[in-house]
């Protein structure tokens, strides 16, 4: 049952016929894990906290750095040097005491990811390297866990929601990670600070729609955003029968770290 204060806090939700008191209760009962408490993870965490998603998990081993603050809006200048998961947890708790925050100050690996994602309803990929992005895909597909993929670079971003077994997964689009250093990272090539705000807000929207069971998820189509042209496009994608993890004859049946996909700076960070 919602308290009087919750009815007031969430009144703009409750008035929506797609949400109502029942939907708000679903959000309060919902558990979302955010992997990467940075550019994409920041807006996701802020909006899910404000929306009253009852349990938010945060996984990131990094500390807040001055160069993060141009885009990672959940971290403030005074947080420099603090673990990102602690900085983000403090903001979430300040926004909304209804939210329980669970922190994992570690990088996700083949050894720990299955245990971390197990208790959540929905996972957000807010990571910045292909090793993590492929690992999250594989772990979520093998566990049947719905998740939102996000990727950004310079002025362009893309996102897709993956419903394992029902909609195409990341490996349906990209069967293997690119060789390390083949594709530039944001730290090498730059990123306009507001870009993860756009893509992350869409990922948060997907998590909320998933918890509510309302609307049409961004599954089976990838949404691409170009901030310079100010254009959104979505392209329909079919499941790939030859997908190495969710195809007809999968070759990936257990988790492994894609070490070849780690870049030099990722290795330094970990």
């Amino acid at each position: 049952m919602l308290t009087e204060s919750q009815i007031e806090r969430y009144s703009r939700h409750i008035i929506l016929k797609e949400v109502g008191g029942k939907g708000q209760q679903k959000l309060l009962d919902g558990k979302v894990l955010i992997i990467g408490a940075g550019g994409l993870g920041a807006p996701v965490a802020l909006y899910l906290a404000a929306a009253g998603v009852g349990t938010i998990g945060l996984a990131d081993a990094d500390d807040v750095d001055l160069s993060n603050l141009q885009r990672q809006v959940i971290h403030f200048t005074a947080d420099i040097g603090k673990p990102k998961v602690e900085s983000a947890r403090d903001k979430i708790e300040a926004i909304n005491p209804d939210v329980t925050v669970i922190t994992y100050k570690e990088w996700v690996t083949a050894a720990n990811i299955a245990g971390i994602i197990a208790d959540y309803d929905f996972v957000i990929d807010g990571t910045d390297n292909f090793a993590a992005k492929f690992l999250i895909n594989d772990a979520c597909v093998l566990a049947g866990k719905p998740y939102s993929h996000g990727g950004i670079l310079q002025f362009v971003g893309q996102t897709i929601t993956i419903l394992p077994g029902q909609s195409p997964c990341y490996r349906c689009l990209f069967p293997q990670p690119p060789p390390k250093d083949a594709i530039p990272t944001c730290s090498q090539a730059g990123v306009i600070g507001v870009l993860p705000g756009v893509i992350g807000s869409i990922q948060a929207t997907e998590a909320i729609k998933f918890l509510l069971g309302k609307g049409k998820l961004l599954a089976g189509r990838i949404l691409m955003y170009d901030a310079l042209d100010m254009k959104f496009r979505d392209v329909e994608i079919k499941r790939n029968a030859n997908c190495p993890i969710c195809g007809e004859h999968p070759t990936i049946t257990e988790l492994k770290d894609e070490l070849d996909a780690l870049t030099v700076c990722d290795l330094k960070e970990s």
Binding site: L40, G126, K133, V156, L173, A182, V191, P196
Partner: protein, 70 residues
């Protein structure tokens, strides 16, 4: 001949030898070695790039790796 590339109608020269692979080179597509190509709604396997001809009216999408997030 007319094809659609990433949602844009595009005119390319007539060339019956053109394959998906040679189109990538001709257009100097970024991430050429890694880009995923969707042809008429189907994702092409990479080994098929060199053997799949590009035909009038084809709808082609290039899907790029985007690894950033933090």
């Amino acid at each position: 001949m007319n094809i659609s590339i990433n949602g844009k109608e595009t005119i390319i020269s007539e060339n019956s030898d053109r394959t998906v692979d040679s189109l990538l080179e001709e257009l100097d597509v970024s991430q050429r070695l890694y880009v995923t190509v969707e042809l008429n709604g189907e994702i092409l396997e990479r080994p098929a790039y060199e053997t799949t001809p590009v035909k009038e009216g084809d709808v082609i999408e290039f899907l790029y790796f985007m690894g950033g997030g933090r």
